[in-house]
């Protein structure tokens, strides 16, 4: 491990108790949980940007996706949290890893200057958005927030009740199915492709 890597990981690791402690100081138990999940999201994305090996970057996304699921859970949207885990961790991350592992090995190492410039660019963007949000958002004290509760039933009823979203939901499902079938049709190998090329006319 190089010195820059050591420094980077030491900084990321020390941020964990800082985030959890700051959250606990600001809002007690839920605040500590928020600090942990926020650290997971930010730390995961930082490691994802920093790591030179693409596979390790992909694994770092595990922290980002898991932390996002935790944040959803803290907001009381448990359905969204579980969907996040099922779709992003179980599906999309597996596919990313699948794709990364099928790429040639010389593509899996990134050079430090590129990593650093990426970090700077993304950091500037994040800082801009954070400043914008901090200036314009309507901040609410933690004590004023309603107790989060499970919204599964409302979501289920909202999907199924005829006047609500069932038509839109079904239409989206049909569109997805059509897209999948079309993708298979485009990607499939035709019998003509597999047959040997004709070598002159036979009489």
């Amino acid at each position: 491990m190089e010195l820059t890597d050591r420094v980077f990981y030491a900084v990321v690791a020390t941020l964990a108790p800082v985030a959890i402690g700051a959250g606990a100081f600001a809002a007690g138990g839920a605040g500590a949980a928020f600090g942990l999940f926020a650290w997971l999201v930010l730390g995961g994305s930082l490691v994802c940007l920093w790591e030179r090996s693409v596979v390790r970057s992909a694994f770092a996304l595990l922290g980002t996706f898991g932390g996002t699921a935790g944040l959803f859970l803290l907001l009381g949207s448990d359905f969204l949290a579980m969907s996040q885990i099922l779709i992003y961790v179980g599906g999309i991350l597996a596919l990313i890893l699948f794709g990364v592992m099928l790429t040639p090995p010389d593509l899996t190492e990134r050079k430090l200057p590129r990593v650093a410039s990426g970090l700077v660019a993304v950091g500037a963007g994040v800082a801009f958005i954070a400043a914008k949000v901090a200036m314009t958002a309507d901040w609410v004290q933690a004590a004023e927030l309603a107790e989060p509760k499970s919204a599964t039933r409302e979501i289920g009823v909202g999907f199924v009740a005829a006047e609500e979203y069932v038509i839109a939901f079904e239409l989206a499902a049909v569109v997805l199915t059509v897209a999948l079938v079309a993708a298979v049709y485009v990607a499939r190998r035709r019998v003509v492709d597999l047959a040997p090329a004709p070598s002159g006319e036979q009489v």
């Binding site: 961790v89 179980g90 890893l97």
Partner: protein, 379 residues
């Protein structure tokens, strides 16, 4: 669990800060789940060795205890004391992280498992969804193990695992939709309680003609999801040494096995709750009639009191569900030692071309059946 914690909360809750209560709840919950998973894994390993032995006309373990029942403990001691080997060229961090991630994911899924009709870790409305989500997370751990080991066998094994799980998660979820639709809930405890009629035999399996095919599809998909034979291509010991765990030894290796048996138990629990009646059986029904079902009753003073008389009912219910789960585990073992392994292209063909469309058809048929029943008998 909920009663234990409520009891603590009522006796000392006023004197403790909230975060300490949350910490106590989390630590006890994790300790109980960990103990349960270890016991299930130890019993399942012994059962697997006995089942495989008897299927192959031999006895299996016989020396350590009566019919070898202490064999798993002896094995556990051996695995704990074994040298911890990490290949020199392996990615050390990911290599050490992978078994923990796999085990943590399956422990998380256990939070949705109801112990009895009144005792649970978390009475989660999204039970099924959560179990499927967390057990899909184990895939990432397996891929991580395969890549970090830096060996061609492990990479082959983990790529197969990723492809297989992505293919079979769809039929698994869709075939579970059939009983979920009939039950109208994701919650395991509520779904089990809905099957209590007909002396505890109104199992979802018997309520709709599309249930039986859905159950078969679910069982096949669960076999693939838990990487059990005939779908144990990620391990494939005759071609890939030991697949994704080739480089692992000692306690890290045993984590993968704990995960495998815990996942088998959980998948069987999903099948038992959503097709085979969950806690309900004639025995549970009569125990409920005899002893009463409510664990908490309002006492004479109006305060909540524990109803000790109902404890036998809850014991019978818990044992019923565990017996059904182990029946599922036994079926999986029986198949493993009977069927030959399928090829990877056959696995993919089966998942995408047969199981997925068939499970969608099952959902459609079951929905039409339920809608027709509703239209005919609603008024």
């Amino acid at each position: 669990m909920n009663f234990f914690l409520e009891g603590i909360y009522q006796t000392v809750g006023e004197h403790l800060p909230m975060w300490l209560m949350m910490l106590i709840a989390a630590v006890t919950g994790i300790a109980v789940v960990l103990g349960m998973v270890s016991l299930i894994a130890m019993f399942s390993v012994w059962l697997e060795r006995k089942v495989s032995g008897h299927i192959q006309c031999r006895y299996g373990p016989m020396y350590v205890g009566w019919h070898g029942w202490l064999q798993s403990i002896a094995d556990g001691v051996k695995l704990l004391l074994k040298e911890d080997m990490i290949p020199r060229d392996a990615d050390r961090v990911l290599f050490m992280l992978a078994p923990g991630l796999v085990l943590a994911a399956i422990l998380g899924a256990f939070a949705a498992y109801p112990l009895t009709p009144g005792i649970w870790f978390g009475d989660i409305d999204l039970g099924v969804f959560m179990i499927i989500a967390f057990s899909s997370m184990t895939t990432i751990g397996v891929v991580m193990a395969g890549w970090a080991s830096n060996s061609k066998w492990t990479i082959y094994g983990s790529m197969r695992e990723a492809a297989q799980v992505v293919a079979y998660e769809i039929p698994l979820g869709v075939s579970l939709l059939v009983p979920v639709m009939v039950a109208g809930t994701f919650n395991l405890r509520e779904a089990s309680a809905l099957q209590a009629d007909w002396f505890g035999m109104k199992w979802f399996l018997f309520t709709n003609p599309f249930m039986l095919p859905a159950f078969v599809l679910f069982f096949v998909a669960a076999l693939a999801e838990t990487k059990r034979a005939p779908f144990d291509l990620p391990e494939a010991e005759s071609e890939l040494v030991a697949g994704f765990m080739t480089e692992y030894s000692g306690i890290r290796w045993s984590f993968f096995f704990m995960e495998e048996y815990a996942a088998m138990f959980l998948m069987s629990a999903l099948g038992a709750v959503f097709f085979l009646g969950g806690f309900e059986s004639p025995l549970t029904h009569f125990a409920g009639e005899l002893f009463g079902k409510e664990l908490v009753v309002l006492g004479a003073s109006g305060a909540k009191e524990l109803n000790f008389a109902a404890i036998p009912y809850h014991l019978v219910a818990a044992v019923t569900l565990i017996a059904k789960c182990f029946f599922g585990v036994f079926l999986m073992m029986w198949l493993r030692w009977t069927l030959p392994r399928v090829r990877i292209d056959q696995v993919m063909t089966m998942g995408y071309k047969y199981l997925t469309p068939l499970s969608l058809l099952c959902v459609l048929g079951a929905a039409l059946w339920e809608a027709g029943k509703h239209a005919l008998f609603a008024s």
